[in-house]
Symmetry: C2
Subunit: 261 residues, 2 copies
């Protein structure tokens, strides 16, 4: 198995291969579920369609996401294995800037995975991790599987949940609970992207650092300014821009004289 | 972990979930490498763009693939872990109809994986598996990694290699060895698709059964008829059709009133 230090920095696919390495290591550390590897591959494919960089529409989506979280009374960040494996430090820093606690909430829940993810986040500088203390665990009927266990201080009490790399069932359940849902998902046609209030169609590796920069600016705004700014964005239109961007990129490639990547 | 029998047959994503299950089981059986799960995910994403069914251009690619293999003097089928996990019976049957032996050739090579894949193919009805007998192993400098070990009766002696789900380095190496390369790869922009002589942009689960049906028809043709038919196809144009198909599908979705999958 190729490990991180063996990928030369000048390799044209250095970033992608390093991330792939982090996901596979994450599985070895029990942080990432097996199905998380397949989900990561789906993301890689959509990132190819973006050209593996952040397009303009995604910056707008990221602004919308930050504004929505900033505008919430009690925002929470729901962390799963892939997020913890891919960008633990950025996720922790994002939570601190936005004053949003982190909660671990998993599809494939096991005490071993919970502790592995908690360790990853604590090592990345997190102070408190919600979701694991039985004293505060609530069961909500709207969510199936073991993910129905949520923290009474976290997701249960929140008005806005940032759930990057989430699946569609969960996103729909959170919406049914009248929570505002913000996600990062490279597939603009996933049920998550289509169901969330705000969908960021970008690689989380780029999205969260960009959202931190945006947050540093937007935390200076007054409540009125936030609300005024929020009016400018429309999730469905931005998703259509994402589809259009991917479509035009494929079309440009298909009409070029010689196919190249 | 969800296993096969738990997926209800009327689930809208039954086929996709069953295949996903086969890949994860394949990893447990040591047939599929960890990176094979990520590769499978990439394929899933491109299959979404096809609408998870075989478009017309892909049928043409499949005809071209079958004709190329039929026209070869010594064709060989190179099998890796994902192929063995996803469609062992179809691969074995395809080899029998086209009179092409199977050779195991792996990126992540280990005796354990080789034996697990061999068992999978033998259980699926294969008579002989090339690639594992040290007596016939040759090392070819054009291919890096452990995949440079090929069978003197198989890939080394072949004029046409059918290598579904292959990576770009290997495809390029086989081309440098002046072999005709036929592949199945859902990403029309992968180096494999762009480097192969014939690329089938389709899910292997659909492609091989369709190619068996095509082969049953084309094995009736004379050599002259084969050569005449072969002139009608152009790999680059077909790949451009694939890109155009995906692009138009995304564009249609982006312009619909209400986004739906």
């Amino acid at each position: 198995m190729m490990s991180n230090h063996e990928i030369p920095k000048d390799h044209p696919r250095y970033v992608s291969l390093t991330i792939r390495d982090a996901i596979i290591s994450g599985m070895h550390q029990k942080v990432v579920a097996e199905a998380g590897l397949i989900a990561h591959g789906r993301g890689e494919a959509f990132d190819y369609l973006l050209g593996e960089k952040t397009p303009d529409f995604a910056i707008k989506q990221e602004e919308y996401a930050v504004l929505s979280i900033l505008n919430a009374e009690k925002p929470i960040i729901s962390v799963n294995g892939n997020v913890a494996a891919l960008c633990p430090e950025d996720t922790v820093n994002f939570g601190k800037i936005l004053n949003a606690p982190l909660e671990i909430n998993l599809f494939y829940r096991s005490p071993e995975r919970e502790q592995a993810i908690k360790k990853k986040l604590i090592d990345a500088g997190a102070d408190q991790i919600l979701g694991l203390d039985p004293e505060y665990q609530e069961t909500i009927p709207e969510i199936s599987h073991l993910r129905r266990i949520v923290d009474s201080r976290g997701i249960a009490a929140s008005d806005c949940v940032f759930v990057p790399l989430e699946d569609g069932d969960r996103t729909q359940a959170l919406r049914r609970m009248n929570k505002s849902v913000v996600t990062v998902d490279l597939n603009p046609l996933s049920r998550t992207s289509l169901t969330a209030n705000v969908s960021v169609t970008n690689n989380i590796i780029r999205a969260i650092p960009e959202m931190i920069t945006i947050a540093e600016e937007f935390t200076q705004l007054s409540k009125d300014q936030l609300i005024e700014k929020l009016k400018k964005y429309n999730n469905e239109n931005l998703l259509k821009n994402a589809l259009k961007f991917m479509s035009e990129r494929l079309m440009a490639l298909s009409s070029s004289d010689k196919l190249i990547i």
